[in-house]
């Protein structure tokens, strides 16, 4: 596949000229991304008549812009009220929400917007120029490699529950067990469904997310007048544009962090079915592993916010690659986009790049241009959006409850999901109050079924031989990296303590 470099400037300016489609789509995407339960896929389905009534190019630009911006929108409630808009933003509140509680919400939002934008823009450009190479990822990553990638994401549980690893383990495994509810992947045997038909398709993630994060948070925050601390409130009231600009500066200073964590997202996004959740968790875990200050993660650390936001926007670019090159949708939204394109008689696959290169490369170029438009559209709103955290909990709590329960319903149109969200709310409330990390439960719920699916697939291919997990070179390299990731922090910690003890002993001997 030869890259038609001569087309790129033309495609860039053409995508730019479609600003009147991109900007409304960006605003709509941010709104639907911010409401738990709504997603770009749902919205495109709702707007299907619109997408089909316009020409294929306009429809595609609209869908791509909506898709990219919804990913960014999901981070907004995650930062402001500890409620991720989608599973892809589930790692965002780990450091985003503590920043809000400290009165640094405008800074956190600005960092999230910048990391999302530059992560998405960078990976779109990489996707554009490295399309032939990146396509190979799809061929090299199989069930075995995916098992190890899932374990990378799950190892985050060890990081976030560092203070009490046993509690983290119980929470993570409990999440995995809950995530295993539903018919099994091979024969469709119902498991742990308690007789509810609504659970046969598996545990729906949105009600779990709404319950664990939003409902439990809503019942907790009524203990105070505001979700922001007293000092943070004073800071917020006095804040002008300063924190927003500071957030922008802090992200630019950490440009390298944005680059490599968004690349993690891009590579994971290319693998069909992997999704933004695993990318965000893996990027967060890797960011913490390579950090010189891992202890600050979870306390409102800028890098802990940048990593998941860059990664989940990197996924957005990644999912387009198998869709366009192989006709394989990398996620739900990509699948819906594929249906729309097929209804427009566009045949996806290698032939598209030969027959209509302008359309094929134009999709990725549109994504890059969308990210450029996002900054002036959303960044000025950071200051005003963050004011929502000053609203009294008397008003905030019922609003969160009603709108997130609505979101739980909307994802599948089942009233059952609202009751399910309430059950998860109870689990989340008890977990928070007793020191079991809700993020660990959610990681288990999201990654558990995926891990089971890939593991079962690998085992069936090998006819039950577990050694298949160590049968590929790439897989073995990933296993080594996983072991290094898990062992080295403890090794470094042990060495640091030993050195400190030796220095203390020497100082005592001198005195």
């Amino acid at each position: 596949m030869d890259l038609p470099f001569h087309l790129f400037p033309e495609l860039f300016w053409h995508a730019f000229s479609l600003w009147y489609v991109i900007i409304p789509a960006v605003l709509l995407g941010i709104i639907v991304g911010a409401i738990p339960g709504f997603s770009a896929a749902n919205t495109i389905i709702i707007l299907l008549p619109l997408a089909l009534s316009v020409d294929v190019e306009t429809g595609l630009v609209f869908m791509v812009a909506l898709y990219s911006s919804s990913r960014m929108g999901a981070g907004i409630p995650a930062i402001l009220v500890n409620i991720p808009g989608t599973g892809g933003a589930a790692a965002t509140p780990l450091d985003g929400y503590p920043m809000t509680q400290q009165g640094r919400a405008p800074q956190a939002l600005a960092m999230s917007f910048m990391a999302s934008t530059f992560g998405g823009l960078f990976t779109s450009v990489v996707a554009l120029f490295c399309l032939p190479i990146l396509t190979q990822v799809v061929y090299y990553v199989h069930s075995v490699e995916m098992v190890v990638i899932m374990l990378f994401g799950m190892s985050l549980i060890a990081s976030i529950a560092a203070r009490d690893p046993l509690k983290g383990l119980v929470a993570g495994l409990f999440g995995m067990m809950l995530g295993a509810i539903g018919a099994d992947h091979i024969y469709g045997t119902p498991r742990g469904t308690m007789g509810f038909l609504e659970l046969y398709d598996g545990l729906p993630i949105i009600p779990a997310l709404v319950g664990l994060f939003a409902l439990s948070e809503a019942f907790l925050i009524i203990e105070g007048e505001s979700i922001v601390s007293k000092a943070g409130r004073d800071l917020m009231v006095k804040a002008g544009w300063g924190p927003t600009i500071e957030g922008v500066k802090m992200t630019i200073e950490r440009w390298w962090h944005v680059v490599w964590t968004s690349l993690i997202g891009l590579l994971i996004g290319i693998v069909p079915g992997a999704g933004a959740g695993i990318a965000a968790f893996t990027a967060y875990q890797q960011s913490r592993f390579f950090s010189k200050t891992p202890d600050l993660y979870g306390t409102g650390h800028p890098e802990g916010l940048i990593a998941p936001e860059s990664a989940n926007n990197g996924v957005t670019s990644g999912t387009l690659i198998p869709l366009l090159v192989l006709g394989l949708p990398g996620g739900l939204t990509a699948a819906v986009m594929m249906i729309v394109l097929q209804l427009h008689d566009v045949l996806l696959g290698p032939q598209l790049f030969v027959e209509d290169p302008k359309l094929a490369y134009g999709v990725i170029m549109t994504m890059a241009v969308t990210y450029i438009f996002m900054i002036p559209t959303i960044l000025p709103l950071a200051r005003y959006m963050s004011r929502i955290t000053l609203v009294s909990t008397s008003y905030m709590t019922p609003t969160i409850l009603s709108f997130t329960l609505t979101g739980a319903f909307v994802a599948r149109d089942y009233a059952f999901d609202m009751y399910l969200a309430l059950v998860f709310g109870a689990i989340g409330y008890v977990a928070r109050k007793t020191g079991f990390h809700v993020a660990a439960i959610l990681i288990g719920c999201i990654l558990g079924p995926l891990l089971e699916q890939y593991l079962l697939r690998a085992m069936r291919i090998s006819e039950g031989d577990p050694m298949v997990l160590f049968s590929s070179t790439l897989g073995n390299v990933l296993w080594v990296l996983l072991v290094v990731t898990l062992v080295f922090p403890y090794l470094f910690d042990w060495m640091r303590k030993r050195r400190a003890a030796a220095e203390a002993g020497a100082a005592e001997a001198r005195s």
Binding site: D184, R191, S392, A415
Partner: protein
């Protein structure tokens, strides 16, 4: 040792999650007892790990409770708040359940939302703010109606308000 004795002991609330996890795992394993091995995979692999880790957790906590002086009513992980907040929280829980039931059983999204928001805000801010509560609830409910039902065509069970509006608009 004296320091350890002075330390606050975690409340019994810490037992809820591990006990629930063990109970659910037992049920899950029971539910797949006749299934093929692929269906039992998670139950045995994850379930075994969960039961073992929960059991270790419970035993260590029980051991700690048995060997140290317990300070009643509190602890570093105390999970019950002061009494007035508890009552408000319980009332809010009942309201939330009522809200879901109202949507599910025919009151529709908009009216249920209005009633829930009004009652919820009054419950948390005081009855003297009823007018403001009703105003905010009305604005949010109408906004929700326009966003979820008119714009996004969410298929909530229709109530009297939605039926009236759809007749009015058609």
């Amino acid at each position: 040792m004296a320091t350890r004795r002075r330390r606050e002991i975690p409340a019994a609330g810490e037992f809820i999650i591990p006990v629930a996890a063990i109970a659910f795992t037992a049920y899950y394993i029971w539910s797949v007892r006749d299934g093929p091995w692929e269906a039992k995979f998670s139950a045995y692999l994850v379930g075994t790990g969960l039961i073992i880790s929960s059991a270790i957790f419970l035993l260590t906590r029980i051991w700690r409770l048995a060997t140290t002086h317990r300070e009643p009513g509190g602890g570093e992980t105390r999970w019950w708040p002061p009494r007035p907040v508890t009552l408000r929280r319980l009332a809010l829980l009942v309201l939330t359940l009522g809200y879901i039931l109202a949507i599910d059983y025919g009151a529709g999204f908009t009216l249920s939302n209005f009633a829930f928001l009004t009652c919820g805000i009054i419950l948390l801010s005081g009855v003297e703010h009823w007018l403001r509560a009703a105003g905010v609830a009305a604005a949010l409910s109408l906004g929700g109606y326009l966003l979820f039902i008119v714009a996004f065509h969410t298929r909530f069970p229709e109530g009297p308000f939605e039926q009236f509006m759809s007749r009015l608009l058609s």
